[in-house]
Structures are given as C-alpha cells and as structure tokens.
C-alpha cells in the first residue's frame, strides 16, 4: 500500500491512541504525571504496586479503563452507522437516529423502568435489554411500513421513521409524567444512559457491534454504488433492496447496542462522517473504518471533558459532544478547501 493510502488510518489511529491515553490518565481524581509514570514503569518492570498508589491503580483499571472501552465502542458504532445512514439516504443530514432507534430505545427503557425488577442480574439488564429490543422493533416497523412490494423507497423510510419517532417520543413523555416517581431516573437515562460501567456490559454489546460494524465494513463498495441512485446502482449489478435492508439492519443493530447502555448521544453520528469526508474524501470503503476510529476517539475526548469539567458532577456526554463538537465542525467546514465535498 502506498504511503498516501495508509496515512488516514495512521492519523486516525494515532488520535485514537492519544485519546485513550488521556482518558486513562485524566479523571475526576487527580493523579499526577509522576505518579502515573511510577505506576506504568512499575507495571512494565513487574514490580508490585506501592501501597499508596493501589487505589489509583484500581481507579485506572476498574473505573477508567472499562469506561474508555465503552466510549470507544459506542463512538465507533455511532460514527460507523452515521456514515452508513448518510450513504444509504444520500442525505448529509442523516444520523443514526433517523428512523427511530433513539426514540424506540427511550420508550423501551422507560417501560422497563416502570416495572420494579428484583435485585438480580436480570433486573440489572432489564432496562438496556428492553431499550435494545424496542429500538430494533421500531426499525423493523418503520421498514415494513415504508416497503412497497419489493422496493423500499428512501423517502418513505424517512417519513415513516419521523412518524414513528414522534409517536414513540410522545408515548415516552406520557409514561414519564404518569409514572410513580421514576421521572428522575428516566430523565437521567434519556440524557446520559446507564450508570453501569463494567466489563460485563462490554461483553454484552460486543457481539452486536462486531456483527453490525463488521457488516458495514465490508459494504463500502456497495455504498459507493448506491451514491449513483437506486436505478443506476441496480443497473450496475447491485441487488439494491437486499443491500439496503442489510445496511439498515447492520447500522441499526450497532446503534441500538450502543444506545442501550450509553443513552442517546447525539452529534457524533451526524458530524464525524462529515469531518472524515472533508479530510479524507468520500470513498465509503475508507470512510466507514475511518469514521469508526474517529467516532471512538472523539467520544472518548468528549467523555473526558464530561467527567472533569464540573467535577464531581458528571455531565451527560451528549451535551459535551454537541457543545464541543459544533464549533470544531464549523472550523473544519470553514477551513475546507473543497467546495463540494459531499
């Protein structure tokens, strides 16, 4: 591979690694660089941790590391599915929540919250599982309503998605209002997801992410063809309806898995693909993996800010992504030399 072809991947990977390192080093509890260095060098050399640094090491390995990995996976899912949706709908405003994943997940979560689950593993997973299932159900409903025979017109999908989203959101609000005191918990979930943060949930969402994002990664060529329009793509040999269905399912699966535990984090699915397009061009074979890497890195950075800006307050990540991301995107947009990068 030529240097030019692997450069984007190297840059994105370097940024991601920098983000991960920062995320492990920075948090609401301040660990000085010298202490960090002491821990790292000690760990590399194999000498046991000095007693006074044990708590810090625990914070890094058991609190920050799972959180970083979760944010990485979530950001990758949102970045990848955002790119897929934009390619699928050929619309720069498309984001992973276009056809109802977010509103469906919110509804599922709130319904699960209105039931008092016993304290058990099942009780712990009830809300995220319900969110996930409701999200997928919403997408399937939207898809079946939008389908005409064997064709799935894009406009129909969008309209159907908007209608179902509005309905689900209204139903969610109604449930919140009429609930017996679960308002606070429901609102907290809608703004920032679950408070769970451990390896178990990462294992829980990993299969869906691997399946969803994996399918997307190999669909780069198909997405490129779809940019010519449904008819042209069909004539170029692409089984359009089947491809669209697979892409839709894969993207929705990844988003639903991400949303189930992290809540509804906006902005990344919309903006990260655009930044990648401006920097590296609109070839979907490259755009998909690059958006995943960048999405992960960006969300990790946003999460660092969310954890430390107003310590000990933990800001909802969605707020930080929009607040920090919007100016950044505008700056990239203004600086871009391409007039019609889309």
């Amino acid at each position: 591979m030529t240097k030019r072809r692997i450069l984007p991947y190297l840059v994105n990977l370097a940024l991601l690694l920098a983000a991960v390192t920062l995320s492990l080093a920075i948090g609401s509890v301040v660990i000085s660089p010298s202490q960090l260095w002491q821990m790292v060098s000690g760990w590399l050399k194999g000498i046991p941790m000095p007693k006074e640094l044990e708590t810090f090491a625990f914070i890094i390995s058991d609190i920050r590391l799972p959180r970083t990995v979760l944010m990485l996976l979530t950001g990758a899912a949102l970045g990848g599915s955002g790119t897929a949706y934009q390619g699928l709908f050929r619309n720069p405003l498309a984001d992973p929540y276009l056809i109802g994943v977010a509103s469906g997940a919110g509804l599922g979560a709130v319904i699960a919250m209105s039931i008092h689950w016993p304290y058990s593993l099942w009780g712990m997973l009830a809300v995220p599982l319900s969110a996930f299932l409701a999200a997928m159900l919403t997408v399937l409903l939207v898809y079946s309503v939008a389908r005409i025979g064997r064709v799935v017109p894009t406009t129909n999908l969008i309209l159907s998605g908007v209608a179902f989203s509005a309905f689900a959101t209204a139903l969610t609000s109604y449930l919140i209002i009429s609930s017996q005191g679960e308002v606070r918990r429901a609102l907290a979930w809608l703004m920032g997801g679950s408070s769970q943060n451990n390896w178990l949930i990462i294992l829980a969402i990993l299969p869906y992410l691997v399946l969803g994002l994996g399918s997307l990664l190999i669909s780069g060529h198909a997405l490129n063809l779809l940019q010519f329009g449904d008819d042209q793509a069909q004539q170029l040999g692409l089984p359009v309806t089947r491809t669209k269905t697979v892409l839709l399912l894969a993207a929705s699966l990844s988003t639903a898995a991400a949303v189930a535990f992290s809540g509804i984090i906006g902005f990344i699915g919309l903006i990260v693909p655009h930044v990648m397009r401006i920097w590296w061009g609109a070839d979907y074979r490259r755009l998909l993996p690059l958006s995943m890497l960048a999405g992960g890195g960006f969300l990790i950075l946003a999460d660092i800010l969310a954890r430390t800006l107003m310590r000990p307050q933990d800001l909802p990540v969605g707020i930080v992504t929009a607040l920090a991301g919007a100016p950044f995107f505008l700056w990239v947009l203004r600086r871009s030399k391409n007039q019609g990068y889309w």
Binding site: S28, D62, Y119, S195, Q196, D314
Partner: protein, 323 residues
C-alpha cells in the same frame, strides 16, 4: 405491594437480630429494642453486637464486622439520618444535594446530580460503607458493588413508623443505637403532642400544596399527603392518580382550597407571584392572602425533619390549636 413489604422486612429483621444469639459467646447482649409507641424507660448504654448481618431494602444481605467509620451517603435524607443519630463524624462523603445539617456541607462532595455519581471520588475515599437510598436505582448499587464497595440500600419509608425504623437501623449499624432510640422517642412525643392539640378539631380545611409552578402537586402515597392529613388538613392532591401530578387550574378553582402552601418557595415562588398568575385571583386563598412559603425539604426528605414539617404544617393549617 412489594414496596410495603420492605419496611416490614427491615423492622422484622431488626427484631430478629435483637433476639439472635451473639457470635462471640463472651459478649453479653445488652440490646433492648424499644416498643415504638410507648415511652422508653432509660436503659444504660445499648451496644450493637457485631458481627451483624442485615437485609437491606433490595433484599441483599449485608454483613458488618464493626461499625463503619468511613461512610459515603448518596442521598440528602441518608446524610440527615446519619447526622441525626450522631454518626456525622463517620461520614466522609456525601452527595451534592446534602445541605443539612451545616456540618454536612464541609464533607467531600461526590456528585449525584441527574443520578450520576463520581465513582472515582467515591473509591478514592476508601469507604467501608456506602449508604444508598430510594432515589438510587439498583444498577447504581450493583455497579458500586462491582467496584468492591459495601453498599446498604435504605428503602424509602412510607410512614413515620418506617422512618423511625430507618433511624434505629442506621443508629444500630453505626454504633449509635442509644442516640437513635432517644431521637425516636422524642420524635414520637412531638408527634403525639401535635395529635393531642389537634384532637378537638372538627374541620379539615382543603390545602393545596404546590411542588412546582407548572402547577404540580403531591398526590397520594407521598409523605406530603400523609403529613397534611396528620396535620388536620385535606390534601387537594389526594384525588390525583399519581404521586407527582400536574393539576388543572379549573379543578383548583372549583375545589377552592382554603390555603396554598408553596413548596417551591425556594425556586422564587411567593404570594406575590401566585397572585399575579392569570386566573388565580379567583381563588379564595389568593383573595384572603392565605399563601404560605414552605421549606419543601422538611416534607420531601424521609428523615427526622419530617416531624418538623408536620409541626409547621399543623401550625399553618390550625393556628387556633397552637395558641
């Protein structure tokens, strides 16, 4: 139904724990669990016998080998209860909204707004007990447990007796059973005094308690509802179908409450702002100026200050009985 079982289980466990044989045969069990409705004849120092195993509000078994000395409280009511039984010096971390008593303000803040706590800060404090409450979801309890912390979930009490049981439980666990028992006794006496003063009252004026300017009121099942009734009033919110209910102004005008109590006084509502609201001037309470500001924390935090709230409500609703 499940919610009503939990306080009963806690009370029952307390009683059973009192009867259980001590693990170390040499330690004498001098603990006496008082009857909650009779006055206590003073017994010399009651000592909690450790090790102690309790079942918390989520049905989890929590073991205590000694009284915890580094407690992190996740709820404002939990903090109030801890300080009230005399365990204030054992509290090393508290949530953002714990503002009573004053001494609590100087304890390390560990987050808590929108249900998000700073787990790094909690772990860094190396607590030997994390006291969770009704507002904390079980996922939070589970995730703190996964970090190796000992968590005790104190279920929300539904009655004053439940609240007393919580006080005694916390007193027992923290090694302040004596102070807790004394506190419960004095709280009981104060409530009995209020009941006595209201014994001859025949009228139960309609009270509208405002939680929010939207307007929202407190419905059935809340302590506000319970305390208003205990204080000799009728709660306008009793007819609502949920605990936190947005009301219709038309219904309020038709019902025409005798007084308006502003639980949202801390958020800027006052007699002036209420009178200025469109359509509210039709209410008798507004015309007569019977609009009172109230510290909502006294009736919404399930701790010993509920009795303060009861006394203040009784004075507002039946001033003639307290002359």
């Amino acid at each position: 139904m499940f919610r009503k079982l939990i306080p009963a289980i806690i009370t029952l466990t307390l009683l059973l724990a009192a009867c259980a044989p001590a693990a170390t045969p040499t330690a004498v069990n001098t603990q006496a669990l008082p009857s909650l409705t009779e006055t206590l004849t003073p017994t010399p120092t009651q000592v909690t016998v450790f090790p102690l195993t309790l079942t918390d509000g989520l049905g989890r078994k929590v073991e205590f080998s000694a009284a915890p000395q580094r407690i992190v409280s996740l709820t404002p009511s939990g903090t109030e209860v801890l300080f009230a039984v005399g365990a204030g010096s054992q509290v090393v971390g508290r949530d953002t909204f714990s503002d009573y008593p004053d001494a609590a303000k100087s304890v390390t803040d560990i987050g808590g707004s929108m249900g998000k706590y700073d787990s790094e800060a909690i772990v860094n404090l190396k607590p030997d007990l994390v006291l969770a409450g009704g507002i904390n979801p079980q996922e939070l309890v589970s995730s703190l447990e996964n970090l190796g912390l000992k968590v005790y979930f104190l279920a929300n009490p539904l009655t004053l007796e439940n609240m007393y049981a919580n006080l005694e439980l916390v007193g027992k666990v923290t090694g302040h059973l004596d102070s807790a028992t004394t506190l419960v006794t004095s709280l009981n006496e104060r409530v009995a005094t209020v009941d006595a003063k209201l014994a001859g009252v025949t009228e139960k004026p309609l009270v509208y308690y405002e939680l929010d300017a939207t307007p929202y009121t407190a419905g059935p099942g809340t302590f506000i509802d319970l305390l208003i009734q205990r204080a000799g009033g009728t709660n306008f919110g009793s007819s609502m179908s949920s605990a936190w209910a947005q009301i219709s102004l038309e219904q309020l005008v038709v019902a025409d409450p005798a007084m308006i109590i502003l639980g949202d006084a801390a958020y800027g509502e006052s007699a002036t702002t209420v009178a200025a609201r469109q359509g509210w001037s039709a209410l008798t309470a507004v015309k007569d100026g019977k609009i009172f500001s109230f510290d909502d924390n006294l009736v919404s935090r399930p701790g010993p200050r509920l009795v303060d709230g009861l006394e203040q409500l009784a004075r507002l609703i039946h001033p003639e009985a307290f002359k």
